[in-house]
């Protein structure tokens, strides 16, 4: 499994991907797997009022990853990476115990983040597996 961010030819990286790069409008032609990377907590919350099919309480964080050239998906073009480019992802935390802004976390794969079909979203319209963030 991978946690794929998407990169355009000008080196802008987003998670998730978009039809056109939000920074420059070019197509995103490359992916960057974040699943083996360590990220930093930008902010977090524990939600106690959760929708149908969602664990309660639900710990959530926005996590920032640094994307360096060496993580490029097989590309050796030196223009493909912008030095110091970062990308953020939102995800559940495995635990909120002791978590603070700036803490390091790593992605951990989960087959079902919430129960498909319990909420309003059509189960077939999207994926339900993904990564939680585990404090390092």
């Amino acid at each position: 499994m991978t946690l794929d961010a998407y990169r355009c030819e000008n080196g802008h990286v987003t998670y998730p991907g978009h039809t056109r790069c939000p920074d420059c409008g070019e197509p995103q032609t490359d992916t960057v797997d974040l699943s083996e990377e360590t990220g930093e907590v930008v902010t977090w919350t524990t939600s106690t009022a959760t929708p149908p099919g969602v664990r309660e309480p639900n710990h959530l964080a926005i996590v920032e990853f640094e994307v360096s050239e060496s993580h490029s998906d097989g590309s050796s073009d030196s223009s493909a990476g912008v030095d110091g480019e970062t990308v953020r992802a939102l995800g559940q935390l495995t635990t909120a115990d002791g978590v603070e802004i700036g803490d390091e976390v790593e992605p951990v794969y989960v087959e079902e983040l919430r129960e498909p079909g319990a909420g309003i979203r059509e189960p077939e319209s999207q994926e339900w597996d993904g990564y939680r963030f585990e404090p390092v």
């Binding site: 902010t43 524990t46 929708p51 802004i101 999207q126």
Partner: protein, 383 residues
């Protein structure tokens, strides 16, 4: 150029209502027509601001239903959905319809029926606006508020109490609003001791789930004078978006849509933040009042919390914010909220706000959809 005037306005009782969406819309629409002295058959355009009548109630096509119920057939109708900012987007649509010359008499009715659903279900209907990579994690709009509040307090060294004071202020204002869902003062300890909903935010940092409707009647200023001397003018209106995926914003404590939409509205009105006498902001969560008051240019970035602490935004302060009680105490029937903000400004500018009255010639309303995903800013003035 003939300016666009508002010659009638209304809002229903907000709260836990027995009425369904069609009845709520008809109630507000009928009242606004009476206030304006306009018959349904005089309407050229009829817009309905509503996010999710299909999802909440299984009733679609509400603008056509409303046109029939208000004797407005064959008026052109459309439903304006921009999630929580549907009301503000409806003002934009109504303004366009008159400013373009396409309509000489337009009514906008905003409404939502929500309370028959459980809190979890209603939260899920709203959260369905999120991207699949957000939705699968069970993120809710209150969760975004919790994450943003934590970041704001950390970044600007703001005390947790300052958020609580927004709730205290807006509940106090709502006490004098006969249409508000909650007409109950709360003290700071009650806010700070209430149950956690999205840490660090607690129950009293959030607006309730609400049924209700509100309406406005628009026409060219030249036509307005045939009906009344008591009207207000839409001097500026702007709309803008920010990223759909919330975590992709460079600064989590800035709402780009508020910045962009207000710049458009200020420019159109030839006004700046210093000209605004009273404002209705989208305090769906207490933290949003800080973000908007900064992104609208009222206060420096990171300083909005001080204005609340110092009483600047109190009803008797230099810049009263949410004299209506805000979404916080008035309630937040999604599609109605932006329309009800303008209703409050209409009353304030005409001197009809009773115990809530402040001294104001220029008012601003900022209506936020999603978590700042879509924003409309409207400036209303005395003629």
């Amino acid at each position: 150029m003939d300016r666009v005037a508002i010659i009638g306005a209304s809002m229903t009782q907000f709260g836990d209502r027995d009425a369904w969406i069609r009845e709520l819309l008809a109630e507000a629409g009928d009242s606004a027509l009476r206030d304006a002295g306009v018959d349904g058959s005089d309407l050229d355009h009829l817009y309905v601001s509503n996010m999710a009548s299909g999802e909440f109630e299984g009733q679609t096509g509400v603008p056509n239903a409303l046109a029939h119920d208000l004797n407005a057939v064959p008026a052109y109708t459309a439903r304006i959905d921009q999630t929580s900012s549907s009301g503000g987007a409806g003002i934009f649509a109504a303004w366009q319809s008159v400013a373009s010359g396409a309509s000489e008499m337009t009514m906008l009715v905003g409404g939502e029926k929500m309370t028959h659903r459980t809190t979890g279900e209603a939260t899920d209907v709203i959260a369905s606006l999120t991207h699949p990579v957000e939705y699968k994690h069970g993120v809710t709009l209150p969760s975004f508020a919790g994450m943003t509040a934590r970041k704001y307090l950390d970044e600007y060294d703001a005390p947790r109490e300052s958020l609580g004071k927004v709730a205290v202020k807006n509940h106090k204002n709502g006490l004098d609003n006969p249409h508000a869902q909650f007409r109950k003062e709360v003290d700071l300890d009650t806010v700070l001791d209430s149950p956690i909903v999205a840490d660090p935010l607690r129950l009293y940092d959030f607006c309730p789930i609400t049924d209700g409707s509100a309406a406005l009647v628009f026409c060219p200023e030249s036509v307005a004078r045939e009906y009344t001397d008591d009207y207000v003018v839409v001097s500026g209106v702007g709309g803008a978006t920010d990223t759909h995926v919330v975590h992709e914003r460079d600064d989590p404590t800035t709402m780009g849509g508020v910045v962009e939409s207000s710049q458009i509205a200020y420019e159109m009105a030839d006004r700046g933040p210093e000209d605004i006498d009273v404002a209705e902001l989208h305090d769906m969560f207490t933290i949003l009042e800080f973000l908007q008051s900064e992104d609208l240019g009222f206060f420096e970035k990171g300083e909005g919390w001080k204005a609340v602490e110092e009483g600047v935004t109190d009803r008797d302060g230099d810049l009263p914010i949410n004299t209506s009680g805000g979404l916080k105490s008035k309630g937040h029937p999604l599609g109605a909220s932006g329309v009800a903000q303008a209703y409050e400004l209409y009353q304030q500018l005409l001197g009809d706000a009773g115990a809530r009255q402040v001294d104001a010639e220029v008012g601003l309303a900022c209506n936020v959809g999603g978590f700042g995903n879509c924003v409309s800013t409207t400036i209303l003035e005395q003629p």
